[in-house]
Amino acid sequence: MLEAINISHTFSDSTPFSRQVLNGLELKLAPGEVVLLTGPSGSGKTTLARILAGLVRPERGTVRINGEDLYNSDGRRLATTDRVVVAFQYPERQFFANTVWDELSWGLRVGYGMEGSEISRRLSKISEDIAFPLAQLADRSPRSLSSGQQRKAALVSLLALEPQVLILDEPLAGLNVRERRRVVSLLQQWNRGNRTMLVIAHELELFLGWVGRVAVMAAGRLTFCGSPTELCQTNDPVVRQTASLPPMVELSYYLKQCGFSKGPVSADSATVRRQLEEALTQLRHNSEAGTKLIPPKKEKPSVL
């Protein structure tokens, strides 16, 4: 559906400020697949998203959408990017209209030529799904909204387009946990509708339970690409470090490394809680038997 093949990209090439951002990167999304892209800041995530969305032409490499090359031999971009919709990291950069209503309805009205009643229906539905108070804010300037509300306004405007391919760059930044869960559950619903999504996020705990694959980037390359389960089990310290795995996963990993739990490393809170309880029981049991309780410190796995 969406393919990045051997992509390399440099900012301000041949100047003293030249900086290679992507270095021979490969990532392919199958139709209906959801990939979570994560990694430290500056690793190239946003640049990759912009390249896949057709906003930046990569210096080297090929981008394909539905099997078609995004650029022809003259370097002209194909019109197929209409099917790919991207939500920017900073929502205020995409706002242009004077009111929230104009901003949110623009794509449906101008892009899709939709009628007023249908526009209202779509916008109200999505707004309700992610708890954006549309009726209350419709006449305000989008720039006057708080940062969390701007984030949600931007999401409403894009999700209302019901795109087949969606690229989301940090869609949860600036939202609180409840708001995050609502956005994530909407994305999950969309996934069941067989939409393809690339989501850049640092909040792994909200995604590990349902996305198909996780791609971890560092310094312009993928250091890992596999299922959430594989990521949780990995013994590669660089991958664990760059992926910033949630504390519960790292706890589960630690318990396993110390021999307290036999099952696989888990991302599920209830499972990890059970693993911790088992470990506590073992600790207590050992302490009563008067043996050494704990693995010696040198064996402490470096998860931090």
């Binding site: 690793s43 946003t46 940062s147 640092h202 790292e250 207590r284 998860v303």
Partner: protein
């Protein structure tokens, strides 16, 4: 150090024509305190920080900085700020120059500026990018640059508006721990807004806002006990703190003792005497 006091502050946008964000709002922050501010989107967190800096002026009431009323149109020069959106704050095309900009305005000597720029960029992990274009930095790196600019000023008051919301979990923890150690070494007043309870737990005091009203003002540990309020504000007790509470219920630790992964692993590695005393 800097104290901040709000006395019956009323503020609304558009020169008072909009619904007020704050009405008769009182808040008093003691010099040297670290206060975390939480609350849903649109509850007034950013507005509160802007009022503290003097970027916005109240229509009624007064804001006192170190007991002196902040006059209309006057900026609070004792405070350095970092807001969530770096695009409005980065002024220089080169990373190191951007940090130096604030220091030059303070009239510091070039040698001092050099030292401080390097120190601040090292703190946030951007020193090796010092000579790069600031617009080549990623979103998370730009946020760190803004924070470096604020830290380099070495003011006795830091106002941070969700300053690291685009920085990945691990680096965020590292930078916050660093802030904590800086604050411990050279006490300064810190006001810090966040959407994550994990971050708010680092502060000494937690203030929760809802629609411009103060709905909680006490220690972060006490806030965790207020289950309904936590839920009402759209927040969640961090998973590890939740486990810590389970351990506390069993008498293995004190309530509020374990809130981070480090603390929990420490406990598993070196069992405290309490564990030995524990009987079913």
């Amino acid at each position: 150090m800097v104290s901040i006091e709000f006395n019956k502050v009323t503020f609304s946008y558009q020169d008072g024509t909009e619904e007020p964000v704050f009405s008769d709002f009182d808040l008093s922050i003691t010099a040297g305190e670290w206060v975390a501010i939480v609350g849903p989107s649109g509850s007034g967190k950013t507005t509160l920080l802007k009022l503290m800096k003097g970027l916005l002026q109240p229509q009624a009431g007064e804001i006192r900085i170190n007991a002196t009323v902040l006059a209309a149109g006057e900026l609070n020069h004792l405070a350095a700020c970092a807001f969530a959106n770096p695009e409005n704050q980065i002024v220089s095309p080169v990373v190191a120059e951007d940090v130096a900009f604030g220091l030059e305005n303070m009239g510091l000597a070039p040698e001092t500026i050099q030292v401080r720029v390097e120190e601040a960029l090292r703190w946030v992990g951007l020193w090796e990018r010092a000579a790069h274009f600031s617009h080549h930095l990623s979103g998370g790196e730009q946020q760190r640059l803004i924070l470096a600019g604020a830290l380099a000023q070495q003011k006795k008051c830091l106002l941070l508006d969700d300053p690291l919301c685009m920085v990945a979990g691990r680096s965020r923890t590292e930078i916050l721990n660093l802030l904590k150690s800086i604050q411990a070494r050279e006490p300064c007043t810190m006001v810090h807004t966040t959407h994550l309870l994990e971050e708010a737990l680092l502060a000494e005091r937690l203030v929760a806002l809802e629609n411009g009203t103060l709905v909680f003002d006490d220690s972060p540990g006490r806030f965790l006990q207020e289950k309904e309020l936590v839920e009402q504000l759209g927040l969640e007790v961090p998973a590890i703190a939740d486990l810590g509470e389970m351990l506390a219920r069993r008498g293995l630790v004190e309530p509020g003792e374990v809130i981070t992964l480090e603390q929990l692993l420490e406990l598993l590695t070196v069992p405290g005497p309490k564990q030995d005393n524990e009987k079913e």
